[in-house]
Symmetry: C2
Subunit: 394 residues, 2 copies
C-alpha cells in the first residue's frame, strides 16, 4: 500500500504524513503536506476518494498543511493525466461551485438557512453569489460584480419600459440593478424565502417595489410574457431531465419575434457527474452540463438560436479567490458561530471550486440566445465594450 | 388538387399560374407569380418538393416571375409554421449555402472546375467564398471580407512568428492575409487544384511564398504542429461521421498548452438534413450541423474548451445579397458562357441561400476554442473591437 501511495505522491507533488509518523515525500513535492490521522481514513480515501476525502477533511481526520489551493490544483492537473487516477479522483470532490440556488426547496433552505449574515461576511456588498466579470484583473470584487450585471444587461439589450423575467434571483441584486439602471420592469423567481424577504426589503428601501416583483416559485411557476429572460447560476440546479421543461418555459414567456435571453452557468468541457462529496454535502442534485448539453436540451427544442457564447472561466477562479480570502479573514468569526467542522467544510468547498476553475476542470458559460430570424440584434458586439456612461439608459 | 393548392397558396402568399392559364391568387399574394408549365411538373413538386422544385426551376418547367427572393423567404416563413408544410417543403431545397469546399476530390472539382474567371465575376476581389463580416451594413463587400479576416485573426490572437494551420483555404486569401498582416507562417490545405494553383501564384507574386505553404490534401493529411488552427467554411463538407477525426487532427497539431483555434461554419438551430436538391445538384455530402453537434463531436473528444461563439447569420444574408446582385449584373456574360440552365441553377442557389439566412433557417457560427486551462486568453473580448490600426502586428 505504501508503494502505491508513493507512486501516487510522485504525481501529486505532495508530502504525505501518516498517523504513525511515516512520511513520504516526492522529489518535487509542493508546498503542502497531507496529514492522514488514521489507517481507516486512508483506506476509505483509497476506496472512495471523492466522498471520503471531503468528509475526512471536514472531520479533521485529514489535514492539509501549507498551500491548500496549490495542493488541490496540482491534484487536478495530475488527475487530468490519464494513466494516473486514484489520488486525482480524490480531488474530484471539488468539482462544484458555489451556486445561486434553485433545486428543491429543501436543498435550497439547507444551504441558505445559514442566514444572510454569514454570506455578508465574504460576498460583495450586494450579495452576488455567482461569477463576477473583471474588466481588469485589478478590479475590486464590488466593481466586478457591478460590471457583470452591466455585461449581462448589455447582452440582453435592455431598453427602458421593457420587461424581464429572471429565474433564480438570489438576493435580488441583478433584478434591482436592471430596474434601477436600465428602466425595465422585472419579475424575479426564487425559492429561498430568506433571500426573497431580503430582496423585497431592498426593493422597498430603494423605491423600486413598483417595478420589481419577487415571486416565491421555481422556474416551473413562471407566468406571463416578457421581452427578455435571464438566469444567472440556476441551470446547475435544474437537472438534465428538466432542461426541456425549462426551454419550454422560456419559449412560452418570451416575445415570439424580439424575445431574447441569457443563461449563465457552470459547465464542463466533458460530460461527467459532479463529485460525490459536493452532491451529498454541498449541493444535492447539482450538475454542470457541457455547452452542447445546454444548447441541445434547453434551446434547440424551444426553437431558440444561439447568438453569443462567452467563457468566463478565469473570472470565476478570480471571484472565488476574493471570496476565499474574505472567508479566511472572517474564519474566526465563522468558527465562533458555526464551529470548526463548518469552517473546514467551507474552506475546502471554496478552495476546491477555485482550483476547479483555475485548472479548467470547470468552465463558466454565458449563452445569449434569441429567435431564429430576429434582425434586431446589432451587427457587431462592439456596443458591449463601449464606455459605461454611453449605456446608461435612464 | 386545386383545392389543396388553394390552401397552400393562401399561406405562401404567391400567385400561381398553371399551364392551361388557370390562375390562383391568395388574398395577400406577394410580388411573385409561380408559373408551372405542365401537369407532370406540378405532380412531381407535390410528390417530392425538395428535389423537384429545384430541378423544375433549373429546367424552366417552373418559373418565378417577380420577386424571387421574397417568394423564397415567404415560403420559408410559411414552412416554419408547423401545420402547413407542403409548399414550404418545396422551398427547403435552398437549405444550403455557398461553401468553401472540401468533401471528396470529385465533389470539389465539380463545383470548382467552373474556373476562377466565373467566381471573379461576382465574388470580392480577393475571392473569398464564405460569409463576410460587416462592421457597418453599408460597408462594401471588399471591406467586409477584409474585416472578416481581421476578426478571425484577432480571435486567434495571432502574433508575429507564430504558426498557423488552415484547413480548407479556398483561393488562399486568409492564409496570405495572416502572413502579410500578422507576421505568421501558414500551412494551408485544400483539395481543389485550381484554387491551390491560384493561391500559390498569389503567394509568389506577393513574395509570401517563404511564409505560406499551400498543400494539396484534405484535413486528414494535416501534419506537424502549430500555435493556431483555423477553418473557414470547411466543416459543412466534413460529414458528421468524420467530426471526431477532425477533432483528433486539431488536438494533435495544436500546442498542448497555448494552442487555440477557430471553426467558422454554416449551422442550424435544429438537426435536419440539407435539402435534397442542394445535396444532389450543388454540394454532394454537405451538412450544416447544430452548434451542439459541432461542439460535442469535434471539440469535446479532443479536450478542447469553447471560449467564444458568435452567430453571424445576418452577415451571411448580406454577403449573399452582394453576391446575388453581382451575379445578376453578370448574368448575360454567364449565360453566354454556360447557358440558361446554369444561370437559373445559380440564381436559385444564391437567392435560396440568402432567404435561408434571412429567415433564420440557417445560421453562421464562429467558434473559438482553446485548451481547458489556458490563461493566455485576455480577460475580456474588448480587444476584438479596438481600432484596426492598434492591431497591426507588423
Amino acid at each position: 500500500m505504501l508503494e502505491r501511495l508513493g507512486r501516487l505522491l510522485s504525481r501529486a507533488r505532495v508530502r504525505l504524513v501518516l498517523w504513525d509518523g511515516t512520511a513520504l515525500t516526492s522529489p518535487d513535492a509542493g508546498a503542502a503536506t497531507l496529514v492522514v490521522r488514521d489507517r481507516r481514513t486512508l483506506m476509505r480515501i483509497l476506496w472512495d476518494p471523492e466522498l471520503a476525502f471531503g468528509d475526512a477533511y471536514a472531520d479533521g481526520r485529514v489535514e492539509v498543511r501549507g498551500d491548500l489551493l496549490g495542493f488541490l490544483e496540482s491534484s487536478y492537473v495530475s488527475w487530468q493525466d490519464k494513466p494516473w487516477r486514484a489520488l486525482g479522483r480524490a480531488a474530484r470532490f471539488v468539482g462544484r461551485r458555489v451556486g445561486d440556488l434553485v433545486g428543491t426547496r429543501t436543498d435550497v433552505q439547507r444551504h441558505y438557512d445559514l442566514g444572510n449574515d454569514f454570506y455578508r461576511l465574504w460576498l460583495d456588498d450586494r450579495l452576488l453569489y455567482t461569477c463576477a466579470y473583471f474588466e481588469r484583473p485589478q478590479a475590486t470584487l464590488e466593481e466586478a460584480q457591478v460590471a457583470k450585471m452591466d455585461h449581462v444587461c448589455r447582452k440582453l439589450r435592455l431598453r427602458p419600459g421593457q420587461t424581464v423575467i429572471e429565474a433564480g434571483c438570489g438576493w435580488g441584486a441583478l433584478a434591482l440593478h436592471m430596474a434601477r439602471n436600465y428602466g425595465v420592469r422585472v419579475r424575479a423567481y426564487n425559492i429561498s424565502r430568506e433571500q426573497i424577504r431580503h430582496a423585497r426589503a431592498r426593493a422597498r428601501a430603494e423605491g423600486l417595489d413598483d417595478r420589481v416583483e419577487f415571486v416565491d416559485a421555481d422556474f416551473r411557476g413562471i407566468e406571463g410574457t416578457a421581452d427578455a429572460f435571464v438566469s444567472v447560476g440556476m441551470l446547475e440546479h435544474v437537472g438534465l431531465a428538466n432542461y426541456a421543461a425549462l426551454g419550454a418555459v422560456i419559449d412560452r414567456c418570451l416575445d415570439p419575434v424580439r424575445g431574447r435571453g441569457l443563461l449563465h452557468f457552470i459547465g464542463r468541457d466533458h460530460m461527467r457527474p459532479l463529485n460525490a462529496w459536493i452532491r451529498r454535502r454541498i449541493f444535492p442534485g447539482a450538475y454542470a452540463p457541457t455547452l452542447a448539453q445546454a444548447v441541445e436540451r434547453v434551446l434547440e427544442p424551444a426553437a431558440l438560436s444561439v447568438l453569443d457564447v462567452e467563457n468566463l472561466r478565469r473570472h470565476y477562479a478570480l471571484t472565488l479567490d476574493h471570496w476565499r480570502r474574505r472567508f479566511e479573514s472572517a474564519a474566526g468569526h465563522v468558527t465562533a458561530h458555526f464551529g470548526e467542522r463548518f469552517v473546514r467544510t467551507w474552506r475546502l468547498y471554496l478552495a476546491g471550486s477555485q482550483a476547479a476553475f483555475s485548472t479548467g476542470v470547470l468552465q463558466l458559460f454565458q449563452v445569449t440566445f434569441g429567435r431564429s430570424a430576429d434582425d434586431a440584434q446589432p451587427w457587431t458586439r462592439a456596443s458591449l465594450y463601449r464606455e459605461r456612461d454611453e449605456h446608461a439608459a435612464l
